[in-house]
C-alpha cells in the first residue's frame, strides 16, 4: 500500500479545511495511506523566515521535512506556497552543503537531522504520476459529464522549475490539470492567460485593489474565451482568490458575472463520491450548478 505524509500548512487547515477534507478523502479512496506529520508547522511562508535569511528559512522548512523523513514517507501538499517554500528550501540545502550543515547544527540540539530523503509532491503531480490517469478514471463514481473547466495551475506549482523534482514538459504551457479534468469526463480548453498570476499572496496583502484588478483581467479573459462552468485551481491560495476574491469583486460591483471555483482536490474528491457538503463547506460562490451537472448523468 502506498503511503504519503500529509503536509497541511496554514491556509488549508485554517481557511479552507474543505480542501483538507477533500485531500484526505481522495487519498483514502485511491488506496493511499495518510501518514500524519504530527508537529508540522508553517512551510514557512515567503513573507516570514525566507525574508530574514536563507539558513533561518531552510531550518524552519527542514523541521517539517525531517518529520516526514523520520516516518519514511514523501510529502503531499495542496498549497502552492508550501510546495514552493519546502522544495526551494530543500534545493538550497541539497545544492549547498554549508547551508545544510548550519541547519543540521541547529536541528541537532533537538535531536533532529535533515537528510534530504523525502520528496515534496503537489496534488497535481501526485495524481498525474503516482496515481495515473487510467487508474483515476477507473475509480471515479461520478463522471463530470462534460463539465467545462478553466484550469489554474498556480505559480508555485510551476516555478522555479529547477527546484522541483517533477514538472510539466513546458511550464509556460501546463497541461497536467487539463488532462486530469478530461480523465474525469470534463473538458478543459486552453485559454490565452492560462499561466497568468491570480494576484493572491503578498500582492493581495500589500496592494489589494491592484491584486483584484489583476485577477479580474484574468477572469475576463477566461469568461470571454471559454466561458467555463467552473474554475479549477491547483493551489489553495489561487482557490481563495478565485472564490472569496471573486465574491469581493462582485460585492464591490466590479464584476457582473460569477464562475464558481474548486481546488483540483475537491473536484477529484467529488468525482470519487465525497460528501459534497463537507468537500465544498467553505465555498463562497455557490456550486449548485456544478454539482448538479456532475451528479446529473449518473
Amino acid at each position: 500500500m502506498k503511503k504519503i505524509g500529509l503536509f497541511l500548512g496554514c491556509n488549508i487547515p485554517f481557511n479552507r479545511p474543505d480542501v483538507e477534507y477533500s485531500i484526505r478523502y481522495l487519498l483514502n479512496e485511491l488506496g493511499v495511506e495518510i501518514v500524519e506529520l504530527e508537529g508540522a508547522t508553517c512551510c514557512p511562508a515567503f513573507g516570514s523566515m525566507p525574508s530574514l535569511d536563507v539558513v533561518g528559512w531552510a531550518t524552519a522548512s527542514a523541521w517539517n521535512l525531517t518529520i516526514a523523513e523520520e516516518k519514511g514517507v514523501d510529502i503531499i501538499t495542496g498549497c502552492g506556497s508550501c510546495y514552493g517554500s519546502l522544495n526551494e528550501a530543500k534545493y538550497h540545502m541539497d545544492k549547498h552543503p554549508e547551508i545544510k550543515e548550519q541547519v543540521n547544527k541547529i536541528l541537532s540540539t533537538v535531536g533532529k537531522e535533515y537528510k534530504g530523503t523525502s520528496k515534496v509532491w503537489n496534488v497535481i503531480n501526485y495524481l498525474y504520476e503516482e496515481i495515473g490517469l487510467d487508474n483515476l478514471k477507473a475509480k471515479i463514481k461520478y463522471n463530470l459529464n462534460g463539465l467545462k473547466c478553466a484550469v489554474q495551475t498556480g505559480c508555485h506549482n510551476l516555478w522555479p522549475s529547477k527546484a522541483y523534482p517533477t514538472n510539466e514538459d513546458n511550464t509556460f504551457n501546463p497541461t497536467r490539470m487539463r488532462e486530469i479534468c478530461e480523465a474525469l469526463g470534463g473538458v478543459a480548453p486552453h485559454y490565452s492567460t492560462i499561466t497568468d498570476c491570480c494576484g493572491m499572496g503578498a500582492l493581495r496583502s500589500q496592494a489589494s485593489a491592484k491584486s483584484l484588478a489583476l485577477f479580474k483581467k484574468k477572469l475576463d479573459v477566461i469568461k470571454e474565451e471559454i466561458d467555463p462552468d467552473v474554475c479549477i485551481t491547483g493551489c489553495n491560495s489561487c482557490l481563495m482568490q478565485f472564490d472569496a476574491g471573486q465574491a469581493l469583486l462582485i460585492e464591490q460591483k466590479k464584476l457582473n458575472y460569477k464562475i464558481p471555483a474548486l481546488h483540483i482536490a475537491q473536484l477529484v474528491a467529488i468525482a470519487l463520491g465525497a460528501d459534497v457538503e463537507k468537500a465544498t463547506a467553505l465555498a463562497t460562490i455557490p456550486l449548485n450548478g456544478v454539482i448538479t451537472k456532475i451528479k446529473g448523468g449518473n
Binding site: 479545511p17 511562508a45 524552519a60 540540539t109 496592494a207 467553505l282
Partner: protein
C-alpha cells in the same frame, strides 16, 4: 501605493556597501543584470501596475540606491512566483534580489506590520497564517477543531521554538522569544 520616481538617478546616492550587503544576503548574481527587462514582461507586480516593479528594483539594487529600496514597500508585494527567475537570460535570479532587499530592510525594521505579525504567529503557534474562527470552519468540513500540526502538540511546539531561537529570528524579532 505611492508613486515612486526613479527616472532621475542621483549617483551620489549610490552606496557600494549596500551592494555588498545585498550580495551577502543572497543577491549573488546581482552584477550580471543587463537590464533587458524580460523579468518585467512577466512580473505580476508590473502587470498589476506597481510603479516600482522588478526591473526597476534590480536596477536600483545594482546602483546601491539604499534609501529608495528600503523605503519603498514594493518588494513586500512580490508574489515570490519566480517567473523572473525562470526566464532571466543572465540567471540573475531577480527574486533572490527581492529577498535580499527584504532581508536588508528587516535589519533596519523597515517592513510592513504584517511581516512581524506573521513572524509572531509562526513563533507562538507554529503558523505564520493563523486566522480567527478556524475551529468553526473545520467543523463545517467535518474535521477536528485543531489540525494535527504543532498547534496540537505543546511539547513539539516548544521544541520548534527552541529551533527558531537559534536562527536569525532571535536577533530580528521585535517581540520576546519566550
Amino acid at each position: 501605493m505611492e508613486e515612486v520616481t526613479v527616472n532621475v538617478i542621483d549617483l551620489n546616492q549610490c552606496d557600494e556597501d549596500f551592494i555588498k550587503q545585498l550580495i551577502e544576503l543572497g543577491a549573488e548574481e546581482l552584477k550580471e543584470c543587463i537590464q533587458c527587462g524580460k523579468c518585467a514582461s512577466t512580473c505580476p507586480m508590473a502587470l498589476a501596475g506597481l510603479e516600482f516593479f522588478i526591473k526597476r528594483i534590480i536596477h536600483a539594487a545594482t546602483l546601491g540606491l539604499r534609501d529608495i529600496l528600503i523605503e519603498d514597500p514594493s518588494v513586500w508585494a512580490c508574489q515570490s512566483c519566480n517567473r523572473c527567475v525562470e526566464i532571466c537570460p543572465m540567471d540573475v535570479k531577480p527574486y533572490e534580489i527581492i529577498q535580499a532587499v527584504r532581508r536588508a530592510a528587516v535589519r533596519v525594521e523597515a517592513c510592513p506590520a504584517s511581516t512581524y505579525e506573521g513572524l509572531r504567529n509562526l513563533y507562538r503557534f507554529g503558523h505564520a497564517v493563523f486566522p480567527k474562527g478556524f475551529e468553526e470552519r473545520r467543523k463545517k468540513a467535518g474535521l477536528p477543531e485543531k489540525p494535527p500540526t504543532a498547534l496540537s502538540f505543546d511539547e513539539l511546539r516548544k521544541k520548534y521554538q527552541e529551533v527558531l531561537k537559534q536562527t536569525i529570528l532571535e536577533e530580528i524579532a521585535p517581540f520576546p522569544l519566550d
